[in-house]
């Protein structure tokens, strides 16, 4: 237990350092982008027919955010606020705090990508086992081929294909936004509306990513099947069902790490899929904020993504030590 806590503490310290490094990077990178938020808003107002004077004043008054001062002082300011969990105010959505914005988008993304990732994991693992068991026949080759093909199709192509056929041609799904007339909350119609909107994006996500799990699982199962202890168990007369469990658990080990890491990356959203389905997730928000040169929103989004990836890494490591005794005790032979 003590070793576990020490390990956890080490992870957390490293995590905080990582977050600091990444936030510093994004702070600089974001400001290296051409154009600045004031300029962008200013031009927007001009385009709306506001006079130059008025526009300048309005930008300053409304957003209270003028990137004056040196980068150093901005950076100090940013870090200080960050320590208080204050990510600043969004520039594009007036007066809304970035935290609210980012968490609002993350909520949608997690639902979508979590469902998609778990779906693709389950499909990939099951088909991978079948492909490994039947690797000498046609079934195995066909499954591997399908896996490689789907793995090779970019997400946005998959998304567009699904939209074209299922929504536009067959009209199985509605194209509009989540029905605003229904009371938001935990009630049947609202949830049904959300689910009907999330099915296609989740399916697109799962279809374009299960191939990787399939191929990894297949090779993992094949390698475990060749391990000595499987033959040894057969020679001890161990039941096939128990041997199957031996194989499954050993073969799943490397996939858990992949799964945990992809769960971390899922906060980043599936940019292309969200875009294709007009889905209000992190990916869409990130693109908008880049378009608006919304520094604080960008930084906030990147911060959340970073934190999620780091947390997932920690979780993967701890999970691995829970399922693999060789890691748990720190020594492997």
């Amino acid at each position: 237990m003590l070793a576990f806590l020490r390990r956890l503490a080490g992870h957390l310290v490293r995590g905080v350092v990582m977050i600091w490094v990444v936030t510093t990077f994004t702070f600089v990178l974001v400001r290296l982008m051409p154009g600045d938020p004031v300029q962008t808003q200013y031009e927007k107002l001009l385009a709306q027919g506001v006079s130059a004077e008025q526009a300048r004043a309005q930008v300053q008054v409304t957003y209270g955010f003028v990137p004056h001062g040196s980068w150093i002082s901005q950076y100090g300011d940013y870090l200080w606020k960050l320590l208080h969990f204050d990510l600043g105010k969004s520039v594009s959505a007036q007066g809304v705090s970035v935290t609210t914005e980012v968490l609002g988008a993350a909520k949608w993304t997690i639902g979508l990508v979590l469902a998609g990732t778990l779906l693709s994991f389950v499909i990939g693992v099951v088909l991978g086992v079948i492909a490994a068991m039947k690797r000498e026949g046609h079934v195995g080759s066909i499954l591997s081929l399908i896996g490689s093909l789907l793995h090779g199709i970019p997400q946005y192509v998959m998304a567009l294909v699904l939209v074209t056929f299922l929504t536009v041609k067959l009209k199985l799904f509605s194209t509009g936004p989540v029905n605003g007339l229904i009371d938001p909350g935990f009630n049947g119609p609202y949830l049904a509306s959300i689910i009907s909107h999330a099915v296609l994006p989740a399916a697109a996500f799962a279809l374009s990513s299960f191939g990787g799990y399939l191929l990894t699982m297949k090779s993992s199962v094949v390698s475990v099947l060749g391990d000595d202890f499987i033959l040894a168990s057969e020679l001890r007369g161990i039941k096939p069902s128990i041997i199957f469990r031996y194989v499954a658990r050993n073969a799943l080990l490397p996939l858990f790490t992949v799964l945990a890491l992809s769960l971390g990356f899922m906060i980043g959203g599936a940019v292309f899929i969200e875009h294709a389905f007009n889905y209000p997730g992190m990916g869409a928000m990130l693109i908008d904020s880049i378009g608006n040169r919304d520094y604080s929103e960008m930084s906030g989004a990147f911060l959340l993504i970073t934190g999620a990836v780091i947390l997932a890494n920690i979780a993967a490591d701890l999970l691995y030590s829970a399922i693999d005794p060789r890691v748990r005790h720190g020594g492997a032979t």
Binding site: F229, G237, R249, P325, R326
Partner: protein, 352 residues
């Protein structure tokens, strides 16, 4: 002690079952067709005996060991012959559930020490319970007690070992766990594949004395497959020498080691370096052992490396595969010149 499966044969005193291997042929499917790795082998394991099966790598001895459990791995298969085990019948004709239960139940198999024969994610104890579940053992407590008894008999702490994972055990400990798992269900025929390979000298002699003692105490019939003549000299009552998938010589260990008849056995024994005396006396056998594809199709499989054939090429060595013939009671040699009563020595060899 709980008799978990029917002991194969216990008449009065504890003695393992007799095993009769007749005309056993195992072939592997290769791009060049089905090639025999084991060719028409006849071998009898007397009840309660320890037989050593010796050969170089590629001689077919591990295939033989697997065949004892009808467990030859694809693309290989037993194409001919039978393995009759007292109280169990012909293993070659067993299949399905009966075959699975014979493995571990009546026939114990111990993997090479260097190989990882345990599931790395489960403790030894959990795997013992998997064994119980697979063989319908009612009384799991008795089985655990039995396992602990066996382990402590072999000098290990039962409680500690059952709570350990494979990576927490040394090579010698793993080997003893392997023997425990092979015998805990009361198997009376024990097959050990390279039991001492990859162990240090102390562990080697430990394992060998354990094999000898457990064999006697539990009344087993044991087959030890090894490339190490020293192991055979240490534990085996009888020795069978394999070359190119054939049994070229068999007989009581002391006789064969003292007075090897087949040129191959002779070469094998001459190749052992001695601790005392001139190391130069050890003569490596020239050439390489044949592989599946290079085994001569006709004639004696050993003739290309045979010193006797080199000195005196006989026609029958080239045309017919020699059949094992009984030179003296219990002593079989498959060699044309030996069968013809000619001396094996063709050139003067240094005395040893």
């Amino acid at each position: 002690m709980t008799a978990v499966t029917q002991p194969s044969e216990v008449d009065g005193k504890k003695v393992g079952p007799a095993v009769r291997i007749s005309d056993l042929t195992v072939a592997y499917r290769t791009p060049a067709g089905e090639l025999p790795a084991v060719s028409r082998i006849n071998l009898e394991l007397a009840p309660g005996s320890i037989t050593g099966l010796v050969g170089e790598s590629g001689s077919g001895k591990s295939t033989m060991a697997l065949a004892m459990l009808n467990a030859v791995q694809k693309p290989g298969r037993i194409t001919d012959g039978s393995i009759e085990i007292d109280g169990l019948g012909d293993v070659v004709s067993l299949a399905g559930k009966r075959l699975r239960e014979a493995r571990g139940g009546e026939i114990g198999y111990v993997f090479q020490a260097a190989q990882n024969s345990l599931n790395p994610l489960k403790t030894v104890g959990k795997q013992l319970l998997d064994l119980a579940r697979s063989h319908h053992v009612e009384d799991k407590r008795a089985l655990v007690r039995q396992a602990k008894e066996l382990l402590s008999r072999m000098g290990l702490s039962g409680d500690r070992v059952l709570d350990s994972y494979q990576h927490e055990l040394s090579g010698g400990m793993r080997q003893r766990v392997g023997i425990m798992l092979a015998l805990v269900l009361n198997a009376h025929l024990l097959v050990l594949d390279e039991p001492t390979t990859a162990l240090d000298m102390i562990s080697q002699s430990n394992i060998l004395s354990i094999i000898r003692d457990v064999h006697a105490e539990r009344g087993l019939t044991t087959l030890v497959v090894t490339h190490d003549i020293g192991v055979v000299a240490e534990v085996a009552d009888r020795v069978a020498v394999m070359y190119g998938g054939r049994l070229v010589e068999q007989g009581p260990t002391t006789e064969v080691l003292k007075d090897p008849k087949h040129p191959y056995t002779r070469g094998l024994i001459n190749a052992i370096p001695r601790l005392t005396g001139d190391p130069e006396v050890a003569q490596p056998l020239p050439g390489r052992p044949p592989t599946l594809g290079t085994i001569p199709k006709q004639g004696c499989v050993f003739r290309e490396r045979c010193a006797r054939y080199a000195a005196d090429p006989r026609e029958d060595c080239e045309t017919t595969d020699p059949v094992a013939s009984e030179i003296t009671p219990g002593r079989l040699v498959a060699c044309h010149p030996v069968a013809a009563g000619l001396p094996v020595e063709v050139s003067v060899e240094e005395g040893r």
